[in-house]
């Protein structure tokens, strides 16, 4: 029941924000036509509300309705995160990672907005960490938890508000570049659940041995409380292991097979995962294959496939419709539902939208 409640209404949104419109406010990082990077706030019709230039390529956004703030993270191995005031639509502050640490591009707020949790890497040891930042004190770093694995990527606040779910990608990267992979032979990817009150890991589930080269990276929760994950395959590109699966806290992981030719076309790579407004559809984007696969949450069956070249960002559709807003590296924004897809007019078709699209108000 708690999980279902997570798909509730807009009670936490302030009147100032609600005035933007009832149909949604989106945030995404992008590369602009001139090659520079920016965070963009836009409405359900793709109209820019703010274009906020930053010095680095961006990744994903954390949002707090209580604070009316969004925090957009630099792409890994970034050292910056940018706090956006959603009322004034301005960049309010830049958060820097500690020396010897970098962000992985994802973060999430506590329910009351007080603490921002960010996945981080300790360069020297390669240990995965969750950094804690106090929003009431200038986003001062007030502590950290072990993430329970190497290379933590996306993390979610469990609908109970008292625990985090973290995808540990399992890949150690070269400290010199932060991207080149080391030690694939020893990689172990896992999902962990962390109790926020004590910072302790209460659950950790790994993949079966045959799938140890699968790196779990992106997450979303559906209306039934199942955590969906999207993975990338680090093994032989000639193989087509499952790259999407589900995990129900308290039980083990299960994976979902893709039919051919979808399995081969997807090239073993999921870039983003999201559930729609009601949480009964889940989208997993496969930008390498130019396909976004939409699943029926309850049955785990494929409900539809959108062909969108370099399509990666997925978020709930405008208004509270079933379906998704989808963005692409080619600058397209699509309003997709089971009935069909239509382009959302965008002022920035010469933009390349980054991996993750977030809907702030539904």
């Amino acid at each position: 029941m708690q999980a279902v409640a997570a798909f509730g209404g807009t009670g936490l949104v302030s009147p100032a924000l609600a005035a933007i419109g009832d149909n949604g406010l989106y945030v995404s990082g992008c590369r602009q036509a001139d090659g520079s990077f920016a965070a963009v706030l836009f409405d359900e019709r793709g109209r820019d509300l703010a274009v906020l230039p930053v010095e680095t390529r961006l990744h994903d956004t954390a949002h707090s309705g209580m604070l009316n703030r969004a925090v957009i993270f630099a792409r890994r191995p970034g050292t910056l995160a940018f706090v956006i005031d959603l009322v004034s639509r301005r960049l309010e502050r830049t958060i820097m990672s500690l020396a010897g640490r970098h962000f992985y591009g994802h973060g999430v707020f506590s329910k009351d907005g007080r603490i921002l949790y960010a996945t981080e890497n300790d360069f020297a040891s390669g240990a995965g960490l969750i950094g804690l930042y106090d929003s009431s004190d200038g986003y001062r770093r007030i502590g950290e938890f072990p993430s329970g694995g190497v290379g933590p990527h996306e993390l979610l606040l469990h609908p109970d508000g008292r625990s985090l779910i973290v995808a540990n990608g399992g890949i150690r990267t070269n400290p010199e570049t932060g991207r080149e992979k080391l030690d694939l032979d020893t990689m172990i990817s896992s999902l962990t659940r962390i109790d926020l009150a004590h910072g302790t890991i209460t659950e950790s589930v790994a993949l079966p041995k045959a799938m140890k080269l699968l790196s779990l990276r992106h997450l979303a929760i559906d209306a039934t409380g199942a955590v969906w994950f999207g993975a990338q395959w680090e093994g032989d590109p000639g193989e087509t292991p499952p790259i999407v699966g589900r995990y129900r806290p308290g039980s083990s992981l299960s994976t979902l097979m893709l039919p051919e030719p979808l399995a081969r076309v997807s090239q073993g790579y999921v870039g983003s995962v999201a559930s729609d407004a009601q949480g009964d559809l889940v989208a997993t984007s496969c930008p390498k294959g130019g396909r976004i696969i939409v699943w029926e949450a309850k049955t785990g069956k494929i409900a539809g496939v959108a062909a969108l070249e370099d399509g990666c960002g997925v978020a709930p559709a405008p208004a509270r419709k079933r379906g998704f807003a989808m963005s692409s590296g080619g600058g397209l924004l699509i309003d997709w539902s089971l009935e069909g897809a239509s382009p959302i007019a965008s002022e920035g078709s010469r933009r390349s939208w980054d991996n993750h699209l977030r809907k702030i108000i539904s």
Partner: protein
Amino acid sequence: MRVLCFLAILVILCSPVRAATPEDHAKAVARVVDGAIVPAFGALEAATAKLKPATESYCRQPDPAHREALRAAFIEVLKRWAHVDFLLFGPLAESQRVERFAFWPDSSGAGARQMRRLRAKPDPALLDPQRLGKSSAAIQGLPAFEALLFGDEAAAVKDYDCKLAVAIAANLEQLSNEMVRGWTAADGWRPLMLSAGPTNSYYATPREAANELLKAVLTGFVQLRDQRLLTALGKEGGARPEKLPYWRSGGTDAYLEATLAALKQFVALFDLPGLSDQDMASAKSSIDVQFKRADEGLALAGHPLPQTIAAPTGRAGVQQVLAAMKIVQDLIGAQLAPAAGLSVGFNALDGD
């Protein structure tokens, strides 16, 4: 009448150049696959076939003449390898062949560590090329071969080292063989790329196949700049020649020259300016000039590069190569590819 003629000419001159069609993309793919890729794998196979006999001769009679012959055979493999080692899709990407053929760069020193252990405690099982091919990637390819026969301890090449080098040579030949078949077989990558279309399970359009090649050539520029030159160049006064590829065998210069030649050939056959919807004559001539500048940069740096890179002229020469290749890389990525209707993707290249 004259006015009409004039108008007609004006219309022809002013009408926009048409955008690339699927046929244009398909032709470009065929030019590169048949003009560069397939022949390059064939040449690699031929070069690796000569490495094993040269190794055996040297091991039988380790005199300076045989050592030079072995070095020449090894450098020939390096040159052929430079023509394919950026094609990180299809046969080279499958079965970890790229890592097995050349585990480089090896920033954590895995190869040296494993090789030291192996020489201290030889494992006869690894002398079987089949077994070697299933062992760690770091001990079955070019850097391992080089360390065995041209490394610091080369003066004391032992019987086991020789036999292991022969097994590595056989493994390299086997890998090349598999890649040639992987490209040319009836269900291989060549027919796959040349039959792009709705019934193709991998490339739904010729454009997708062309995008694959675009991604490959841009990877080639990134590898050359970031992995092979920038790390070794270091900061002013902090050059690290040991970060250059294949310095132990003296193959660095030949390998880098071959890399430039391979990229130049690939870019020329791809002919992105010819696929463009606008007049790209100036971009085309700029590419020619920059490849020339890169060749001149290597010459300016002086040979052998591992000995000259720390000197001011060596540094200046490498910087010239880097600058020239950056210009070509950016021209292709930012200008020529979009004008040819191609895209490497913003998120599709990514490991996030």
